[in-house]
Symmetry: C2
Subunit: 268 residues, 2 copies
């Protein structure tokens, strides 16, 4: 099923999660008070003084999104932000000729839709990678102090992550990029209470490749190379990190050892 224009001449007939065409109109849940949410401490309004006060006052409508369904589509009018309560999402954009790229993965606690605030329409498609659950935050609530602060922080975080990805894609070779991705993903899951060195990828090799600007075959090969180097073990989507130190240094996130490639060096 095609949910896009992508019937352009000669387009490779690849298939991908999120092709099911359903459009995320799952019925709204009961609303839940923030003070009873299992994301207390991760989600809003962390850090503020009026914290408990705000939290008891706030209550948001939840929505369930099934695997492969859209949370929102490019061009939809911006009406609300969403916070991931459980599950995983992927965001992707497309250029006007239909080429797509994964530009973000979202884990519980993340705010989705901040790229729509400026344009008043969503700037990317957001797809659930597994059955998920989000809180709906009406745009009007962004002026609420506790919400405002949390949203500002999460936006800032998104920006840092996006720029981090730019740094990876622009300066690291394939093996390093994948190492950086794995370390980063591990850390995000760790912040949610996961083990740091044992997790399951929720996305396909194709989606990882798209995110990192590499082909899916290269992802496979580099996973194999990292495995052969004894840094990780790979079993389908289950990843175990055997040598975090080594992986980090390969990802240029610790002691360095490699010469920077030309296109990266800005000298100084």
């Amino acid at each position: 099923m095609s949910h896009f224009d992508s019937r352009r001449p000669g387009a490779p007939a690849l298939h991908l999660a999120a092709g099911s065409g359903r459009t995320a109109c799952a019925p709204a849940d009961r609303s839940t008070s923030c003070s009873e949410c299992n994301l207390r401490g991760i989600c809003l309004p962390s850090g503020s003084k009026a914290q408990d006060d705000t939290r008891t006052r706030l209550a948001y409508v939840g929505r369930r999104i099934k695997r492969d369904d859209f949370l929102c589509r490019m061009g939809w009018r911006f009406e609300s932000l969403h916070i991931v309560r459980s599950g995983f999402f992927l965001s992707r954009t497309a250029s006007e000729d239909g080429r797509q790229q994964v530009i973000a993965f979202h884990v519980p606690g993340d705010v989705i839709g901040v790229d729509a605030i400026a344009g008043e329409a969503y700037a990317s498609d957001v797809v659930a990678l597994e059955d998920s659950h989000v809180c709906v935050i009406p745009a009007a609530d962004m002026s609420e102090p506790g919400v405002r602060q949390h949203v500002a922080k999460m936006m800032s975080n998104e920006l840092v992550r996006a720029r981090c990805a730019m740094l990876w894609i622009g300066t690291l070779d394939a093996e390093e990029r994948l190492a950086a991705f794995l370390v980063g993903f591990s850390e995000r899951l760790f912040a949610l209470g996961n083990a740091r060195d044992d997790f399951r990828l929720r996305m396909t090799r194709l989606e990882i490749g798209s995110y990192l600007g590499l082909s899916l075959e290269t992802i496979c090969r580099m996973l194999a190379r990292l495995r052969e180097a004894g840094l990780i073990s790979v079993d389908q989507r289950r990843i175990r990190i055997l040598d975090m130190q080594g992986l980090r240094s390969m990802a240029c996130m610790a002691g360095d050892q490699k010469q920077a490639p030309r296109r990266a060096a800005l000298g100084s």
Copy 2:
């Protein structure tokens, strides 16, 4: 002069603007009321109803930054946002082993420093590409309604631009990337009252290359190729766009014609 660790073994001895080592401690200016600023309408608090009211009330301290000086450095504690009043800036990050990448260019009206809100420290170096002038907005003022809205929009814009850059780097080949960059830069300048088809690049080929994940030689060659194709004329840093339609379609920002490369295609 080295302002970084980059004396790593074998680092190529490239030199770049922003090596002067001065650290942007130019004396603060007189403060200026927002109602008298020449960015009225572009800058805050555009769009709000309490617009004129807020604008007359607000007044911000200005700061001058000389060419090649830093507005802020990675790791500095976050104390204030900056809005570019005049001039041009470049942001760049570095991985821990010293590889750098340009991650954004800033034109008048842009908010600088939003990536610091989450981490409470600046996440990138920001360098003036020419003598510039910024407004200093204390972090505390972010709760001010008019400011809040504008900052949220500009953050959202930054995120969109960053993701746009990811899309370019991840899915377009060198020639297309450069075309997209030129079109995008043209549009940003146009929004500031410039001609759409005649402008001056403020940055070196090296910096453009870094931003686009390409070597500076490739930038040269692709500029030549676009010139030979009759799409632009190039005279040093002065660019004239001779065929906007053609340039846009090459940048995949209008009618398409090319087959998407594999690494981009997410199928559907």
